[in-house]
Subunit: 212 residues, 2 copies
Amino acid sequence: MIHMGIQERKEKQKLEVRKLILDASIKLFIEEGFGNVTIRKIADLIEYSPTTVYLYFKDKDEILAALHDVGFEKMQAFNDDLASINNPLLRLHKMGENYLQFGMENPEFYDLMFIMDEPMKVFEEEGCGWEPGDRAINVLKATVVECMEKNYLARADAHVVSLSVWSFVHGLVSLAIRERMEKFVPEKEMMLPMMRQSLNWFVNSIENTRKD
Amino acid sequence: MIHMGIQERKEKQKLEVRKLILDASIKLFIEEGFGNVTIRKIADLIEYSPTTVYLYFKDKDEILAALHDVGFEKMQAFNDDLASINNPLLRLHKMGENYLQFGMENPEFYDLMFIMDEPMKVFEEEGCGWEPGDRAINVLKATVVECMEKNYLARADAHVVSLSVWSFVHGLVSLAIRERMEKFVPEKEMMLPMMRQSLNWFVNSIENTRKD
DNA sequence: AAATTTACTTAACAATGTAAATATTCCAAA
DNA sequence: TTTGGAATATTTACATTGTTAAGTAAATTT
């Protein structure tokens, strides 16, 4: 094995084409919307033949799953400002606001991460569960637990409460993204403000009033 | 116009074929899932050629929109037991439970009604908004208002609160349907119970504690 | 009886995901 | 240096999809 350097270069190239495909997908995804992400358009963009894509990804779902992962990275970057908030209830609130904002600013990614079926098939096949989602909700859960410990939230099954909080914000975003809110929030620019109001009410409602 | 009877019969026949198409769609929809509802399969079932379908529906989206409407009718039937509940907060709670149950028992319909893009396109084209959804949320809203009037809920913007309640239950159902909950609720038969628990916590949390 | 409208079918197109067969490139051993 | 075999890429092809255009046969109107 004299030419290990060459093999390394090859592997790097392999990864580079993979990255080309992914970048092209993201570009199409963001600029033309999900419906226009097709194998052929990806291939056109990177100037390869369509079937070459299949040398780097098993099928289209796997590409979507990769984009799904990119979405979770993006979301994590969105939450950089959380660590500085000491009050866990305020932090929970801010997490919610970030979630809403991320969803409304990146509807295509949000869709892929929390609504679309396709990327989930890959996780099913892999056997191991939905790791990115798992990690995200564990952060939420930790905050909920902290809220309960410090009596900002009434003590209850933290698992149930975490799912509830998540469901609440997901409900808002997914209804908005899939155009079920237009009748109720006619002006588009009022959507996010309205959602924030909704979140305010929610956080206010769940706050523990029987503080010791 | 001697032959009005014949014209009537013709129109009836026209409606009958329409109904054939719709029934076939529903059958496919329920038995084989949404992905297997194709124009050709519908045509096969009713023993017409595929293109005949287009004489009765503008396009596939219009069929999906019709199924969407059927879903709302089904849901309404689900809520027959609500009228007998006098306490508005209990009624709200029961509405939520019905919503969860309907969603979990009719995931395909729920999908069409509250998640999928396709049927909404028809409403956009028609200009007038999403009438079935509008009606449904108005029922919810009336209950919320009644809750506030009778001090079961703290006074707040009823519109915001209604959207919030809806978002909450929709969040639960849509996460479950689109397989984002499996990691958190591993046993499938625990899904609905867990969601009910979540709803219990929610209703409990939003209930007005400063009752006069 | 002739003309026209209605109801339906056949044929076809374009887009899509994907598989199989084929070609090309490139490195390693003879 | 040549050669054989991976690795990489392309060509061709297929099946499925929604949908349109053209054609046909029967029913209805004139």
